[in-house]
Amino acid sequence: MAGDAGVLQLLSGSGAAMVRMSLPLLWAASGELMVEKCGMLNVGIEGVMLLGAFWGYVAGVYFHSIGLAFCVAALIGLAAGCLLGLLYITLRVDTIAAGIAFNIFAFGITEYFFKSLLARMAGDPPQIGVWQVPFLRRLPLVGEWFAEQNGCLYATCALLLLLYALLYHTQFGLKLRVIGDNPLAAESAGIPVRSLRYVCLMLSTAAVAVGGAILSLVNVSAYTSNMTSGRGFIALALVIFGCRRIRYVLCGGVMFGLLEAFQLRLQVLYPHVPYQLLSMLPYAITIGVLVLVSGKHRTYSSS
């Protein structure tokens, strides 16, 4: 297994899985990117992602419709954004403390309903169909990566393009960036800082929650306790070391997808290597990359 054929198998199989694994991270990171663009920091991202994963899954099992499941996840995200906005923007409490408390809150809520509600619900989550795009399949080298992908991939591409257009080619995006750079100047120029921040936060948490739902409904097809296991914070790290630029965040997301796919595949191909050591990889590399990048860039903007 350890010969050249093994390595080739490792790489070709990892491509498709990499694309799949990076999707939840990209949704969450896009959401966080938007929030940071308007000068806030949402530490509660992990909790929002967990809520999205749980309620998306519950809705999927209950309605047996993938579209409705994502809608419910997005709505939950909007509601979470509302609550966080109330804390961060209206009441202006300590953002980090409130974010951490929100994560605990989300953990408690999902655990509570996981044991009392989901345990009693029968049925499987809906399956999502494969979308085949003819010309993508014929691409050299990477064609196989896209052969078996579903609609989520294309939705993610659309999200990133939309985010780019929104931030850099609309008045709304310009206002957001102005608020991020200097909220006081923005206020004196007549930009409604608070309401725009609310809108931005709610859109962002909706995206983060959908990312969670992709994780539970599409990637794993199951819900387990605390299943995001730090992915929200990895997304936060992605935005920080992507210097809040969409293309760098995209690269980082794909890199982490690759890493996760790679370690899962390694576990299958080399069963004698303890899987626990491979599971450590994504977390260790997050720290490593953060150290490499953070020396040059100040991480948090003042809000």
Binding site: V43, L87, T90, L91, R92, V93, D94, I96, A97, A98, I100, A101, F102, I104, F105, F107, G108, I109, T110, E111, Y112, F114, K115, S116, S229, G230, F233, I234, L236, A237, I240, P274, Q276, L277, S279, M280, Y283, A284, T286, I287, L290, V291, S294, G295, R298, T299, Y300
Partner: protein
């Protein structure tokens, strides 16, 4: 922001209590409270758990003193537990020391080693401005998986079917003070640690200077205080305390390293540290309260099938209320 009027808060609080009454939450709360505090067995267990909680909360509190968030308490507890396990199983037979003296030596070793790991995180923060929040959370998962690797691999006892290490020697296990209760030397250790922490933070110049770093790191650096070193000191103490918590869990409670390592002290410790704000002595009553809530929620789950996760929801809501209350008091 316009100041919220106290009457608004009172009305809101009353509305919440009445709403809770309708969904039956108040009854559950009463059950939790009565199981945890109004029976001898419950009270004994609450105090026993409170000692561990106080130690791990002290850990978060010490880091928070310089304004840093140590969210890696769970991971550092695992490190302390594994180091102590290695010491008790492999080092104890080699050293000709009486057991209390050995425990003391091990305590210092675990404190130093776990503290050094924390110091590394703080160094990254001081030197490279790496967010300690993300690093400590990532470290939780790293330590968890590494400890799992040890328990499933090199440390697994040969005779054991389950993934667990050998038991630590009998003479290193702590004995309970009273029959029928688990309260033991952990309680004394927790009290000593909090008193030592109080003395350091409130009565020494170095401890007091940590507070300045929290309030304004730039001004501190300008006036000649070495901010990075203070970050490292506070994180050293903080991680060291978490490591000791892990060690004490081993010698008092588990007696061996098993694969159920995510103990969940981290969340509650962060909540307690936030609630303490500036006063370290508040750690004592808050630890007792939260240990009671956790224990009571566990009992209620077993007896009435109400998931114990309700304790986490309760904790988060308390933090929200405190944060909002603080903001209302200070106005803008």
């Amino acid at each position: 922001m316009a100041k919220l009027k106290p009457i608004t808060i009172v009305i809101a609080a009353l509305a919440v209590i009445i709403a809770c009454q309708f969904v039956g939450v108040n009854r559950v709360m009463w059950l939790i409270f009565s199981r945890a505090f109004l029976s001898r067995a419950g009270l004994g267990e609450t105090i026993y758990q409170a000692a561990f909680l106080a130690m791990s909360s002290l850990s978060v509190f010490l880091a928070l003193r310089t304004g840093l968030w140590n969210l890696g308490v769970d991971g550092q507890i695992i490190v302390g537990l594994v180091l102590a396990g290695l010491g008790c199983i492999y080092l104890y037979p080699l050293l000709p020391l009486p057991s209390p003296l050995f425990l003391l030596v091990l305590l210092v070793l675990v404190f130093g080693l776990t503290g050094s790991i924390g110091m590394l995180f703080a160094w990254l923060k001081g030197r490279f401005m790496v967010s300690e929040i993300i690093v400590t959370i990532m470290s939780n998962y790293m330590f968890y998986y590494f400890a799992l690797f040890l328990v499933y691999g090199p440390l697994r006892a040969e005779s054991s079917y389950l993934p667990q290490s050998a038991l630590i020697p009998q003479e290193l296990r702590l004995k309970p003070f009273f029959a029928g209760m688990r309260v033991d030397a952990t309680l004394l250790l927790a009290v000593c640690m909090i008193l030592a922490g109080y003395f350091f933070l409130e009565k020494t110049a170095m401890g007091y200077s940590l507070l300045f770093v929290r309030e304004n790191p730039l001004a501190c650096a300008y006036s000649g205080l070495h901010v990075g070193r203070r970050y490292m000191l506070s994180f050293f103490l903080s991680s060291g305390c978490a490591g000791i918590t892990g060690m004490w869990l081993l010698v008092s409670n588990f007696h061996r390293i098993t694969d159920s390592l995510m103990l969940g002290y981290g969340f509650t410790s962060v909540v307690i540290a936030i609630l303490c704000a500036r006063s370290i002595l508040l750690l004592v009553p808050l630890s007792v309260l939260f240990a009671g809530v956790m224990y009571g929620a566990g009992v209620v789950e077993r007896a009435y099938a109400v998931p114990s996760a309700i304790a986490f929801i309760l904790q988060a809501v308390i933090v929200f209320i405190i944060l909002i209350g603080k903001r209302c008091r200070h106005g803008r």
